[in-house]
């Protein structure tokens, strides 16, 4: 049984450099790294020292606020370095790969809810469950009212989950079976409407077909329509590949850090999918020679709207399935602000003829203007298909007015939902940053 819903308004960004549907096994990376910053609001406390020998699944650090939340190593080897920044903040933990030793867990046939939770926590897989509100790692003292998995992807360069899960469908099903025991009801899985999906015939799922442009692939908008979050309610969100990894763990007893990466972007010579491990070195997947005009590019862990900037000698992030490489835009454009001039710069606005030009467009990282006070109204709502006033919520966050933030719906949004608003707003407001700060304030003041 499946249900259809349609999420109106929004827009798809068509970028050149979408990964073609071929998968390649990436070269083995010799070093791996975890960036604690990928885990929103987690404050790491190291559990290993430099030089320690570790296995696949050895805890590396835990959350300062909740020791039960741990992050484990994706490979066996030696802790090479723990890089720190200002105020001794841990920037990344680098591991030299060596051997293939694994920590194994005994999985009983009869899994109870409590046993599942304790195994998820011990194995570190818990850190792949993200909780709404706030998009933090699920709190261990709060149970969710629903678990969402979205395979409806609309973000630029977003992966085709049917394509990457296709060969791991059994693991995925196993993950679903295990996780649904926690909430004693089916997992909510969303698919793209009018598209053949490999997930339709699986069990323990409540399948909802979503019709809509970006950002309808963002889980927030789906939850808002299907099962909106109220104060004091929690929803868990799991990435489809992590669900398969969870299934694999409960089948084998070993942590399986598989990560399929869609290497995309206008600067990539041959954009396609690579199968690798969480934390792999980027250059092991795409060497510099696979990139056009190697110097002037930006590497992004994630999609260009919401991802996180990373150096070309950096590592794959904790959660992302996309690695985007696009051109830096550090060039001047003379009189580029004149309407209908420079139509090669993509724009949703009708002050440009960009919509007449080819459908797939090449983007760069130029800000295309300067930050200004909020002047134009009504433009954010076009890219925010939710019963929430985005500009008013942003203003409440800027004012740090917690009561207003709550009433205007802060529980239902996360920074990535404002990606298109970041992209399209005339005043070049950093909406995602504002929401991130707002959420951090909520976490501190309300919890």
């Amino acid at each position: 049984m499946s249900k259809d819903i349609s999420i109106k308004s929004g827009a798809n960004l068509a970028l050149t450099g979408v990964a073609s549907k071929e998968i390649e096994i990436a070269k083995h990376s010799s070093t791996f790294a975890i960036y604690p910053d990928d885990l929103f609001s987690l404050i790491p406390r190291m559990m290993v020292k430099e030089g320690d020998k570790i296995k696949v699944g050895t805890p590396i650090f835990h959350d300062k606020n909740d020791e039960k939340i741990i992050v484990v190593s994706p490979v066996s080897g030696i802790v090479k370095s723990i890089e720190r920044g200002e105020k001794r903040k841990i920037l990344k933990v680098v591991i030299d790969k060596d051997g293939n030793e694994k920590i194994g867990y005994e999985i009983n046939e009869k899994l109870t809810k409590e046993k599942i939770i304790s195994l998820l926590l011990e194995s570190g897989l818990w850190s792949y469950i993200r909780q709404r509100p706030y998009n933090i790692i699920a709190r261990t003292d709060k149970m969710p009212k629903a678990i969402f998995v979205s395979t409806h992807s609309t973000a630029p360069y977003d992966v085709d989950y049917d394509f990457i899960i296709k060969e791991r469908l059994d693991d995925f099903q196993n993950g679903v079976n295990v996780m649904s025991k926690i909430i004693s009801k089916p997992i909510t899985l969303t698919t793209t409407a009018n598209k053949e999906s490999i997930f339709l015939n699986l069990n323990n799922l409540e399948i909802i077909n979503i019709k809509g442009k970006h950002p309808s692939g963002n889980v927030s908008f789906q939850i808002n329509r299907i099962n909106p979050i109220n104060r004091g309610e929690y929803v868990w969100v799991i990435n489809p590949e992590d669900m398969a990894n969870i299934g694999s763990f409960f089948r084998t007893g070993n942590f399986n850090p598989t990560r399929t990466i869609a290497v995309s972007g206008s600067s990539v010579k041959n954009p396609k999918y690579y199968k690798t491990l969480i934390g792999s070195k980027i250059s092991s997947i795409i060497p510099d020679s696979a990139i056009n005009n190697f110097k002037g590019n930006r590497y992004i862990n994630g999609d260009p709207l919401t991802g996180c900037k990373v150096n070309s000698d950096g590592y794959i992030g904790y959660y992302n399935n996309i690695l985007s490489v696009i051109e830096e835009g550090d060039k001047y454009r003379m009189f580029g602000w004149l309407p209908f001039k420079d139509n090669h710069v993509p724009s949703f606005s009708r002050t440009s003829f960009s919509w007449l030009l080819s459908k797939n467009k090449k983007f760069n990282t130029n800000l295309n203007g300067e930050e200004r006070a909020l002047v134009v109204t009504g433009e954010m709502e076009k890219f925010f298909p939710m019963d929430i006033y985005p500009m008013q919520l942003l203003k409440a966050c800027m004012m740090q007015d917690i009561e207003k933030m709550e009433l205007l719906g802060i529980y239902e949004v996360i920074p990535e939902d404002f990606g298109l608003i970041d992209y399209s707003n005339t005043s070049k407001i950093e909406a995602q940053e504002i929401i991130k700060d707002g959420i951090q304030l909520m976490l501190k003041e309300v919890g």
């Binding site: 960004l13 930006r298 003379m334 006070a373 917690i402 970041d422």
Partner: protein, 385 residues
Amino acid sequence: MNFIRKNLDRIKKPFEKGGKLEKFYPAFNAFETFLFVPNHTTKSGSHIRDAVDLKRTMVTVIIALIPALLYGIYNTGYQYFIQIGLDFTFLDAFLHGLYKILPMIVVSYVVGLSVEFGFAVYRGHSVNEGYLVTGLLIPMIMPVDMPLWMLAISVIFAVLIGKEAFGGTGMNILNPALTARAFAFFAYPTYMSGDKVWVSEASNIDAVSGETILGSLAAGQNIDYSSMQMFWGSIPGSVAETSTLFVLIGAAILLYTGVASWRIMLSSIIGASLVGYLFNLWGANELMSFDWYNHLIIGGFAFGIVFMATDPVSAAQTQRGKWIYGFLIGGLCILIRVFNPAYPEGVMLAILLMNVFAPTIDHYVIQSNINKRKKRWEKLKVKTI
């Protein structure tokens, strides 16, 4: 281009951090970004950005104003020559208009931008583009014979009290251009109404009948302009407000580009038509029985709702609020015209009044959204903060 860029980079040095002229960086920056879209790349948030920015948006409004401005320049000359009864060509009329109006535009921009640049340097923020539009709007809505010093004072008042006192572009409650006009209207009433101000140099010529249509109606006189003339705009009035046709061309540009809100324009027209129609049914005096559709094409109504009511900063900000806001502007405009003969031009006061009430309208629209959420929570017996 490279040559200009290189020289600009050379001149830029002393304005940068630690340089001698660091304080004046905002002023330099305004000129630099006028020539070039800067090479700034995204630092946080989305890595890619749309080509649209505030400069482009504001310049689109200026482009939309140009048809009405050009016609206004011509009409200024036209009104002058037909009143003194001389033969004239299109060029004569246009040049006379240019001779009168160009100085007004220059004064408005020079005075207004000086204040803006001063504030930008004083506050250390970049110069906002908002004044590019305001500075052109102000001379377009003034009577043509207004002394330039009055114009300058109105501009200063509008920028200082109307805008900067509230924190600059984006924070003002009233539309700055209308603030300038309202200031002039109440400070120098003899220059802003009557039958001697709407036609160029009318005060030097005897026997001019240069009263606006609304003025004549308010005085209970008949008018001898046809609807076609009102629509074309060959009638006396503020510089660029008279031609509904050319205002509509501007409106088409604004609506196509999506820069102005169609909701506000449409609801204003609905509001004005409805109230105008009701008065037609009543018909107790000249103004009441003035055809409702003619109300839409005379005075500043068209210009006001296309270019002033749609100012996003002073208008209602929520989509539903915009409907209410526009409707009330249209309705109030006709109401003021009919009931208050001292202020025959109702659209200015209607817009200013609704500017003041726009935040209240938004408040109730947003409150209804909040109440919906609260209700959902109440069902679940959730406590709020």
